[in-house]
């Protein structure tokens, strides 16, 4: 029998199917049209399992960029995963190494955002419960990602052109971000992130997002430190 934390995660992960399904299908269609065969398209979605980086890689392959440049640019898009890894470490660092290996493989944006939100709201959760919740989140997400990619690659697009399905991604992220804005420090971090990404938009390889994110983390930490100091004095 699976623990109840798993089913809580499963329930919280299920609405993401709404995003993953069109996103995966579109990747399947785009990658196939770019000239990849079914095994290669599936290779991307199973081995890389990171939509944004996969799109960047395929786009650069269409532009015939050198192999090393394709790798550098798409890995830069995934550098944020190292930040997710650091952020999850205080919560999941105490589980066994092979479980951390599994967590790492399935570390997609939705899994990270949903689980970190849950962990912060439930300070009493054990590392074992946190792991079960994480597995619950990814269970409806990742198989749908593979299946949707396969459907897109082998069946072609059934989605009528012109529908704004690209916007499913911002909507789910907004639904995850707003509940995280619990203090002035969180609001400050979010504002610095938004302004930073616009200011540093000209940096290549998506590095603007990383600079903005680092500044935003510093802003959040600094506001928290000042609020704590003021409370103590």
């Amino acid at each position: 029998m699976l623990p109840k934390d798993f089913w809580h995660g499963f329930r919280d992960g299920t609405p993401f199917i709404l995003v993953i399904l069109p996103f995966g299908a579109v990747f399947g269609v785009v990658a196939t049209e770019a000239g990849l065969n079914l095994a290669q398209v599936m290779g991307f979605s199973v081995l890389v399992i990171a939509g944004a980086a996969q799109f960047v890689a395929v786009q650069m392959m269409v532009d015939n960029a050198p192999v090393l440049i394709v790798l550098a640019a798409s890995l830069a898009v995934n550098l944020r995963m190292a930040m997710y890894s650091a952020s999850l470490a205080p919560h999941l660092g105490k589980i066994s190494w092979w479980k951390r290996g599994i967590v790492s493989y399935f570390m997609v944006d939705q899994a990270y955002a949903a689980s970190i939100l849950k962990y912060e709201q439930s300070p009493g959760m054990t590392p074992k419960g946190k792991f079960a919740y994480y597995l619950g989140i990814v269970t409806p997400i990742c198989p749908v990602w593979y299946g949707a990619t396969w459907a897109g690659a082998s069946l072609g697009t059934a989605v009528p052109a012109g529908l704004p399905i690209d916007f499913a991604v911002p909507i789910t992220f907004l639904a995850l971000i707003v509940p995280m804005l619990r203090s002035m420090a969180h609001v400050a971090a979010a504002l610095v992130s938004i302004i930073g990404v616009l200011v540093f938009a000209a940096l290549p390889f998506n590095l603007g997002l990383l600079v903005a994110a680092l500044l935003a983390m510093m802003a959040g930490a600094e506001v928290e430190r000042r609020i704590t100091l003021r409370r103590q004095s």
Partner: protein
């Protein structure tokens, strides 16, 4: 695209392996060691530091409209934030935001 099969698989496997190592990085190295308080204080803001910046360009300059501000997408984003504040429920927010998105789309096209 003018890549050989080997080059294509080099990209796929290289990107897969690199992404996995990035994901494993801190989780694998730190393990159950305790981090200093100032590091934890920064890490608490990772999600709100990365995600708003990630979606800001998607909201303001959608590729689907060649990077110009789109009232349908902007309206849906504002509605999504409003629904989230009112309901405090991620599932309701996702479905509500999607409903507003498609309603605006069909109203304006």
């Amino acid at each position: 695209m003018s890549f050989s099969t080997t080059q294509i698989w080099t990209i796929i496997v290289g990107l897969g392996l690199g992404s996995y190592l990035l994901r494993l990085s801190f989780l694998g190295i730190i393990g159950n060691r305790d981090l200093p308080e100032w590091v934890l204080r920064h890490l608490r803001y990772t999600a709100v530091a990365v995600m708003p910046g990630m979606i800001t360009p998607l909201i303001l300059f959608p590729q689907a409209t060649e990077g110009t501000l789109d009232p349908v997408r902007l309206g849906a984003a504002v509605a999504t934030v409003a629904i989230s504040f009112m309901t405090r429920n991620a599932t309701l927010t996702i479905f509500g935001g999607a409903a507003v998105l498609f309603a605006l789309h069909f109203l304006m096209h």
